[in-house]
Subunit: 170 residues, 2 copies
């Protein structure tokens, strides 16, 4: 069920346009991709059903919301057992400051991306919500100078990519 899905060039084109602006109308979508609007509807509905499209998210500016300081917290949880890490993750996820939580390989078990108002707020967060917890063995804080969101997420080209004059299968 988590396996990958076959996407033809039309699907890819749709996804590429929608990732630039997820509210493009089906009419514009159709014009850009070169199929009829009703076909777009069909395709997009299929992509949602197959789980490729998970949903639509609003992209907000943290600074404009008074959360101008962002940081990454590396957290060691000891002992690293299910009955401890389950509640830990749930608690951290519920913090209004948390943006993303990663469970990682390596010596640092978790990486938490947080957005706070200022340094005072960050200090409070680290002391009260992380190091105060018994299962948290160590927290390392790194501030984020700048962050870039990269291009759209697209499937990798097949290993034996088709060259220009390649394999006429007729």
């Amino acid at each position: 069920m988590a396996d990958s899905v076959v996407l033809d060039p039309v699907d890819l084109h749709l996804l590429r346009v929608l990732q630039n602006d997820a509210r493009t109308t089906y009419r514009d979508l159709a014009a850009q991709v070169g199929v009829a609007p009703s076909t777009c509807l069909d395709r997009v509905a299929r992509l949602r059903r197959s789980g490729v499209i998970l949903g639509h998210r609003l992209q907000l500016d943290p600074a404009k919301l008074g959360r101008g300081l962002q940081a990454l917290l590396s957290v060691q949880v000891r002992p690293h057992r299910r009955e401890l890490v389950g509640p830990f993750v749930e608690r951290i996820r519920a913090l209004p400051e948390s943006r993303t939580v990663f469970h990682l390989t390596g010596p640092d078990d978790y990486l938490v991306h947080v957005a706070v108002a200022d340094m005072t707020d960050l200090q409070r967060l680290v002391l009260d919500e992380f190091t105060a917890r018994r299962e948290v063995a160590r927290v390392e804080t790194r501030l984020i100078f700048q962050q870039w969101d990269c291009g759209p997420l697209l499937p990798p080209p097949p290993p034996g990519g088709a060259p220009a004059g390649g394999s006429p299968s007729a």
Copy 2:
């Protein structure tokens, strides 16, 4: 221009609903928030103009796109001078595997979140695109077991928050 913006309770309510589903219609939005649809339109347009809302993003499932393996790469760039790091960041941002690039405080200058097809692909990426570059002094790779996106990003409550029975201003 990056300063925070005053948001009244209606704006906050709108943002909270839209972050759960950015395609909620203005009609439903109006019903949930308790104002007229045309007011919602006005408010949302204002939020876009003021830069609080940056855009609408499609949320895709990397595994369904054949990118089932994600990792975080910590990168040291030496010497850390503008004429080296500028092109470095641009090159990394342009990689189809890159999802986010962070410039950080601390010994690791950059953290790059990547999505790849498999281990072979990850090895290729690290060797060919990172360690092969002269300015890259060191790369540390950590795999992502699991990742949680956290609740909506909302402004922090004001320091002197209004208590329950507070300040009847009439």
